[in-house]
């Protein structure tokens, strides 16, 4: 090269670099190449302003417990860090200790305690943010880490199954429906009772009290004479320690699929082509005279249908289309390397979009902590 001026790749070339190619058995061009020294003469050094200009967010679905959005123009390593943090490092409150006073149900104490732990809890978000980690007493200091209002929520479950007034008589007549015979024969998550301690009453205030996200989770079934009386301590924890602390049911991403039709696909072939994809991906409009004027290959085919890509985002990239001989060399499948379609399903303690923001903040905190340690080391 004559000068030292950085080479600027064409828009077309950059587009090509963002593409992963999906073949019948292979995926190629997966690795990102935007590093200094990879492309001679090009500048790929980290530039925050460039990132700020090119990074984009699009929302597709926003429900409190289910959101879908795209992050465009970010590297896989970063997107994956967010996903990993979402699953395993955002703290939530879950039942951790169960003190069983009475359990005459058929379910063993440890199984019952495990089931209680898995129930997702929800409550006033600000109050939950106010709560801190609980530290267990250590071997050398038994008095350390006592549960208190700022790190522990206390819940009770006290329930006894009994015959209804006319239950025995009905049973003698052959009635078998437990709803008609017994009271409290099924214990649900709504039977958990939260008792605010210390400042919790004030901090939770008029907001949502601490309760199960879904009141209808069946915990255990009872029969007359069986009873359960127990006390639970809910603490903050993270998914890395136990899956019950994970704030999401799923947090995942996929890359935006692309479908390039290289040569026109017309008539019955177009219908077959559309069937190779999920509904809504391929449209089959009728060829108009305007279309045939724009594209010489469509001339003389007016009135027939042709295949056009309507919404590639809906594609599952099953690669079915690549199995058919007639579409060979007519279609190219791919994905966009830096277009991540995130799907976050919250278990209910957090809003799903807040969860994403929290994951980004946590990644920043991780960096800050390492940097602080590094500063100390270099002192």
């Amino acid at each position: 090269m004559a000068t030292n001026a950085p080479r600027i790749p064409s828009q077309e070339e950059l587009e090509q670099r963002r593409r992963l190619q999906v073949g019948p058995e292979t995926v190629s061009n997966q690795a990102s190449t935007d590093f200094p020294g990879h492309w001679p003469g090009e500048n790929h050094a980290w530039n925050i302003d460039h990132f700020r200009e090119t990074f984009r967010v699009q929302f597709h679905k926003s429900e409190p417990l289910d959101s879908e959005f795209s992050l465009i123009g970010i590297d896989t390593s970063i997107a994956n860090a967010f996903r990993r943090i979402l699953i395993s490092e955002i703290p939530t409150l879950a039942i951790e200790d169960v003190f069983i006073r009475q359990n005459t149900s058929i379910m063993q104490d440890e199984v019952l305690a495990h089931r209680l732990g898995l129930i997702p809890l929800a409550g006033n978000r600000n109050a939950l943010n106010w709560m801190k980690w609980y530290h267990r007493p250590t071997e050398d200091n038994q008095n350390s880490g006592s549960p208190s209002d700022y790190n522990c929520a206390v819940l009770h479950l006290n329930i006894k199954c009994e015959w209804k007034a006319d239950g025995l008589k009905l049973a003698a007549q052959g009635e078998t429906d437990p709803d008609k015979l017994f009271v409290n024969h099924s214990v649900y998550a709504k039977d958990l009772r939260w008792t605010p301690i210390g400042k919790q009453e004030e901090i939770f205030g008029d907001g949502r009290p601490l309760e199960a996200v879904n009141p209808d989770i069946l915990i255990v079934k009872l029969r007359p004479g069986q009873s359960i009386d127990l006390l639970m301590h809910a603490f903050k924890g993270i998914g890395q320690d136990h899956a019950k602390f994970s704030p999401v049911a799923t947090a995942s991403y996929r890359l935006l699929p692309t479908i390039d039709i290289l040569k026109p696909i017309v008539g019955d072939d177009a219908k077959k082509f559309a069937k190779c994809f999920p509904k809504g991906v391929i449209d089959t409009p009728v060829i108009t005279t305007e279309d045939s004027q724009d594209d010489l290959e469509l001339q003389g085919k007016e009135g027939q249908v042709r295949a056009v890509v309507k919404n590639a985002m809906k594609d599952t990239v099953s690669r079915e289309v690549l199995r058919h001989e007639e579409f060979k060399d007519k279609v190219k499948l791919g994905r966009i390397r830096d277009h991540f379609i995130f799907k976050i399903e919250s278990t209910g303690q957090w809003d799903s979009e807040d969860l994403f923001l929290e994951s980004v903040k946590l990644l920043k905190v991780k960096c800050q902590r390492i940097r602080r340690g590094l500063d100390e080391m270099n002192k």
């Binding site: 020294g37 990074f55 980690w133 979009e353 920043k364 100390e376």
Partner: protein, 110 residues
């Protein structure tokens, strides 16, 4: 999130034996691919860096090894420091852009 104790963070970091000012392996306790790969990416974006890679030496030990080698006389410590700052800056941009896009979306809906 908890009370800040710089000593705790100090004790999580080691420089492995055999380091020079331009090439060193760092070891971080209680970190994994989450930080390892993200940090590797931003450090590799630095033109002064000849090589950067990370590994988890053993799956049942919560340790992360990060290797950095630099060109010329650039200090690996400064490169690591810059990498961490760049990653923090990136997080800020993501939060801002996301929050902005969310506001626009909410305004459209209502």
């Amino acid at each position: 999130m908890e009370e800040i104790d710089a000593q705790v963070d100090r004790d999580r970091i080691r420089v492995l034996p055999g380091s020079t000012p331009t090439s060193a392996s760092f070891q971080f306790d209680n970190e994994d691919h989450t930080l390892g790969n993200a940090l590797r990416y931003v450090i590799m974006k630095n033109p002064d860096v000849e090589f950067c890679g990370y590994s988890i030496p053993h799956p049942s030990e919560a340790k992360l090894n990060l290797r950095i080698q630099t060109y010329d006389d650039v200090s690996v410590y400064e490169v690591l420091e810059k990498g961490l700052r760049d990653l923090e800056g990136l997080c800020d941009v993501v939060v801002d852009t996301f929050a902005e896009a969310r506001r626009e979306k909410d305004a459209r809906v209502s």
